[in-house]
């Protein structure tokens, strides 16, 4: 049931473009040869993700491979991935793979949206990555946000100093993060068919940011 509501990442990407949400340079390939061509165009290292309408949790289906350095490795990983996914999700029809430029390391945050049953479109921000649900350091605001709301949201998380730079780390681009929250707010407000949105992780740099994974859930 869930699978029908879940929009695959490749179908979420156009929304990111529409709302000026930075996403790594990418391309879809439907064969290993296409994957090689695209990867060369984008430049190594690359990330390869499975593209299938039936698979929304790509990691669980072993459909993500990071840090591919060259053509040889890409061919090898492509074959491996197809075999793995076939075992993990035998009934899923595979469209191909998404090749993305491997993003630099950065501070991982989560930005998302839900359609709250009382207040409607609501934006979330917090510390992210795979620990987001364990750390639970998140804040919410009701869309549409004013810029001050987004700024207050960012300052409100318990571990805010992580963003401004602790232990010799450089401060992160709070301006870009504020822009992102405003974009997600606009998207949550305008895209009436959207029920939930996850941008997790979003990598936050000294300058700029990148949403590395995007998942949208649409209203049934």
């Amino acid at each position: 049931m869930n699978e029908q509501k879940n929009l695959p990442e490749v179908d979420t990407i156009p929304y990111l473009k529409k709302y000026d949400i930075p996403y790594p340079e990418h391309s879809i390939a439907s064969s290993v040869e296409e994957a090689v061509t695209q990867a060369e165009k984008i430049g190594y290292p690359v990330v390869m993700k499975i593209v299938s309408a039936a698979i929304s949790h790509k990691t669980e289906a072993q459909g993500v491979c990071l840090g591919i350095e060259n053509t040889e490795q890409l061919r090898h990983e492509y074959r491996n991935m197809m075999t793995r996914v076939n075992i993990a999700a035998p009934d899923a029809s595979i469209i191909g793979v998404l090749i993305c430029r491997q993003a630099d390391d950065g501070l991982e945050v989560i930005v998302g949206a839900i359609n709250d049953s009382v207040f409607g479109p609501t934006v979330m921000f917090g510390l992210g990555g795979i620990f987001a649900e364990t750390i639970k350091d998140v804040t919410f605001r009701i869309a549409p946000l004013k810029r001050l709301d987004a700024e207050e949201m960012i300052r409100e998380i318990k571990n805010y100093p992580v963003l401004t730079g602790i232990r010799g780390q450089a401060p992160r681009d709070i301006e870009a993060l504020t822009d992102l929250l405003m974009s997600v707010s606009k998207m949550a407000w305008e895209e009436k068919s959207m029920e939930e949105l996850d941008l997790n992780p979003v990598r936050l740099y000294e300058k700029g940011l990148l949403a590395l994974d995007a998942r949208m859930v649409r209203k049934p």
Partner: protein
């Protein structure tokens, strides 16, 4: 759909009813029909009061009419305490008598699975342009009109606090607390089923009600989220709004397909909405009340620095802990303040002249001198006078400081026995709240600091107390 101004006007008309019928009165002191009439009378209602019961006679020394149609007068409002299936008939009759609103205490509607009966009363009300408070409520109290239309308790003390509560028990509890401390209320409303008038309608009303300085709400649900937020934003620009919403532990939906969905508990989203639109989300009932007291009586602090001046080392220490867990700062003394305090040659040799400032003794003048000097040095945004043990000149000291200090003033009083009780009532009468524990005082200060910062960030003018 009702127009907002019409709704405000309708609430005003019901609250200010000059002729009021009470249908379903009883001679049995154990019944709601008796206690309600008794409460209205003891509350000092000055309008024309018409109890109704088919048996007639007299109850509480008041003549009882056998039916609404027998009343030789027009009605502004009607209080209804009869069985649910009789209510729509009573509404019809009340409408014939010109009633503009009904306070329906009777239960047995939607909450008991009888949505049909609730629809029925709404239909009748709409037909006659009548408005409904309730059903399924303990009542409403509007001291400016001395109309305590409640099953209980009798609350007469006028003050700045408007109470809006889903629960009847919270309505009366908060009213009683305000009464006991001389804080006083501008109104108390029990929401019940909110078949017609809902939390947002009352918020709209209290926003423009001059008698109301601060609004507290206890809510279990919200009828129309977006409309509520709009009203909240507008109201909180004008006066403090503090909300306690139950369901704190409700986690995000386990079935949510996204991380965001699973992280979004109802309470987190509600608290965020409060912050965004200027209201304080209280964690519990005492915090709801104390924040209201603080926001009504403490002048908006410029920042989060607090100076504690106390008679007791223990109290100073607890105050420090409680301040810091709320994000308030017990800042060190500015340069030179200790030296000047020493130079006064006034304090005990074992006094600790730092923040928290432990005077050791209970001499009112020492509090006065210490606070004045600290204020001169701009040592804090809020000065907390923390009396532990009885301080005989305490009341005068606080009144003087309240007039003199540039910093905001807050007062905590514990261990003071009769002296403390006297101070609590007398100071509250002057609009200066006194808190009965360090954590309660810090809740109030934290709420005041938050609201002042919220308004400052939005370039809004501070309201004057």
């Amino acid at each position: 759909m009702h127009n907002r101004q019409e709704t405000i006007q309708a609430i005003k008309t019901i609250f200010n009813a000059r002729s009021l019928a009470v249908v379903g009165v009883s001679g049995n002191p154990r019944k709601d029909g008796y206690t309600t009439l008794d409460t209205i009378i003891k509350g000092g209602y000055q309008g024309r009061l018409y109890p109704v019961n088919p048996r007639g006679g007299t109850i509480c020394d008041v003549n009882v009419y056998k039916s609404l149609t027998d009343i030789p007068d027009t009605l502004d409002a009607v209080v209804i305490i009869v069985r649910a299936d009789f209510v729509s008939q009573i509404l019809e009759e009340a409408a014939q008598k010109g009633a503009k609103g009904a306070i329906i205490m009777s239960g047995g509607f939607r909450e008991s699975g009888r949505q049909d009966l609730e629809n029925e009363i709404l239909t009748v009300a709409q037909k006659h342009s009548m408005r409904i408070m309730g059903p399924n409520i303990q009542g409403i109290n509007y001291p400016p009109n001395q109309m305590c239309a409640m099953m209980f308790p009798v609350i007469k003390g006028k003050g700045p606090l408007a109470i809006v509560s889903q629960s009847g028990t919270m309505t009366s509890t908060l009213s009683e607390w305000a009464e006991t401390e001389n804080f006083g209320i501008s109104a108390a409303v029990n929401l019940g089923n909110q078949a017609d008038l809902c939390e947002t309608d009352y918020l709209d009303f209290f926003a423009q009600d001059n008698a109301t300085g601060t609004v507290v709400m206890y809510l279990e649900s919200i009828k129309d989220g977006r409309r509520f937020l709009k009203s909240l934003e507008e109201t909180s620009l004008q006066k403090p709004v503090i909300i306690l919403k139950s369901g704190k532990t409700t986690a995000g939906s386990a079935a949510a397909a996204s991380h965001t969905g699973s992280l979004a508990g109802n309470h987190q989203v509600f608290s965020a909405a409060c912050k965004q639109f200027g209201a304080i989300a209280a964690d519990n009932l005492t915090q709801l009340y104390d924040s209201a007291k603080g926001l009504t009586g403490i002048r908006p602090p410029k920042g989060n620095r607090v100076l504690v001046i106390s008679t007791s080392g223990g109290m100073g220490t607890i105050c420090t802990d409680e301040a810091e867990t709320r994000g308030l700062s017990i800042t060190p003394f500015p340069k030179g303040l200790k030296k000047e305090l020493d130079a006064l040659n006034l304090f005990s040799p074992i006094a600790n002249l730092a923040n928290p400032l432990d005077l050791v003794d209970m001499i009112g003048d020492h509090f006065l001198q210490a606070a004045r000097l600290a204020d001169k040095f701009d040592a804090a945004d809020t000065i907390l006078i923390a009396f532990g043990d009885p301080v005989p000149e305490g009341i005068e000291v606080v009144k003087t400081l309240n007039d003199e200090l540039k910093a905001s003033l807050a007062v905590c009083y514990i261990g003071g026995g009769n002296e403390e009780n006297r101070a609590r009532l007398e100071l509250q009468q002057k609009g200066i709240p006194v808190f009965s524990s360090p954590e309660r005082a810090m809740d109030a200060i934290a709420a005041s600091v938050w609201r002042a910062a919220y308004k400052k960030a939005r370039n809004l003018k501070e309201e004057t107390a």
